[in-house]
């Protein structure tokens, strides 16, 4: 392309790649695991803890300050995430987990759009994977406890009301999907959206930087302008996707727990 458009690039533009997701340790003499995502993860957990403590530690009948925000958030998670899948009684029991998951995932995603931080921690597979493994262990434990080990397999692999020969197909598919695939996609969904979003925003902002500041040429300038505009638009889109993915993560957790507790639904 650069041969066809000699005015476009005085030096080669290099698109950002997977190097965006590799971080050196913060302290040169410190442990190798202590890099920016780990530090952000600790900051994110701290923020969630401080928020929940400030909102719910000393509840008053007439809410003031942080308690107002906390109750708004709590009501949202309860009405939109927990109740549709868990019912009134069980949702109160599991709300602490769902509330924490929603806000933890959200704040970790939100780091991707906060200036000077600008790294969504969930775009490294380890972080969503550990949450998904936690949910996996929890749902299998609940399933075995509520339905018994035999009953769990029977409910999953042999749903009633199908012709006999269909079970040859249904049983292995349901087994794989219920015990493994849906939990793997639970983690991969969050990871891949965050990674793809971060890559795209980085690509467009890099285009803007390169063609407007590093190599300003008459033909390259409009391209750089497009890059800047797209960066702004996509950052807005990312803010929406980040909240949606946190919501979906909590929603699917509620669905898995509800499925383990009440297999008939």
């Amino acid at each position: 392309m650069s041969a066809a458009l000699p005015l476009l690039a005085s030096e080669e533009f290099k698109a950002p790649g997977l190097g965006l997701f590799e971080w050196p340790p913060i302290l040169a003499s410190g442990p190798a695991w202590f890099n920016k995502p780990t530090a952000l993860m600790m900051l994110g957990s701290l923020l969630v803890i401080v928020f929940a403590y400030a909102a719910f530690s000393r509840p008053r009948v007439v809410p003031r300050g942080m308690q107002n925000v906390g109750e708004l958030a709590y009501t949202f998670v309860r009405e939109q995430v927990a109740r549709p899948f868990l019912g009134t009684k069980d949702s109160d029991r599991w709300m602490p987990l769902l509330f924490t998951l929603f806000f933890f995932v959200w704040i970790m995603n939100l780091f991707g759009s906060i200036i000077f931080i600008q790294f969504p921690v969930m775009s490294i597979i380890g972080y969503p994977a550990i949450l998904a493994i936690m949910v996996w262990v929890l749902t299998q434990y609940l399933g075995v406890k509520r339905q018994g080990p035999i009953g769990l397999f029977k409910n999953v692999m042999f749903p009633p009301g199908l012709p006999k020969w269909v079970y040859v197909l249904v049983a292995p598919i349901e087994f794989l999907s219920h015990f493994f695939l849906r939990h793997i996609t639970h983690a991969v969904r969050l990871f891949a959206t965050m990674m793809a979003g971060h890559l795209i925003v980085a690509l467009f902002s890099d285009v803007g930087w390169h063609f407007l500041f590093v190599a300003l040429t008459p033909l390259g300038a409009p391209l750089g302008l497009i890059g800047v505009i797209m960066t702004i638009l996509l950052t807005g889109f990312e803010l929406f996707i980040q909240a949606l993915q946190a919501y979906v993560f909590a929603l699917l957790t509620a669905m898995f727990i509800g499925g383990a507790l009440h297999p008939e639904h």
């Binding site: 997977l18 549709p84 991969v188 990674m195 793809a196 919501y247 979906v248 699917l252």
Partner: protein, 76 residues
Amino acid sequence: MSGVLAQVTGDLGSIGYGLAAIGPGVGIGIIFGQGVQAIARQPEAYGLIRQNMILGFVFAEALALIGVALAFAFRG
């Protein structure tokens, strides 16, 4: 003449991702199209419809996202 009939060079992962995005694209279109139709027919069931719409959307979307992840995973 060699045994190779046609050859593609470059980043095959991108092509693979493009192919992987077709199905989920169609699926998500159907989901939201039918969802909007359902809301138009029965606006009072908005909450319930939106919930199930998003649920269906994330299941379809997961396939495209696996495509993104695998495009990077299998990059030579």
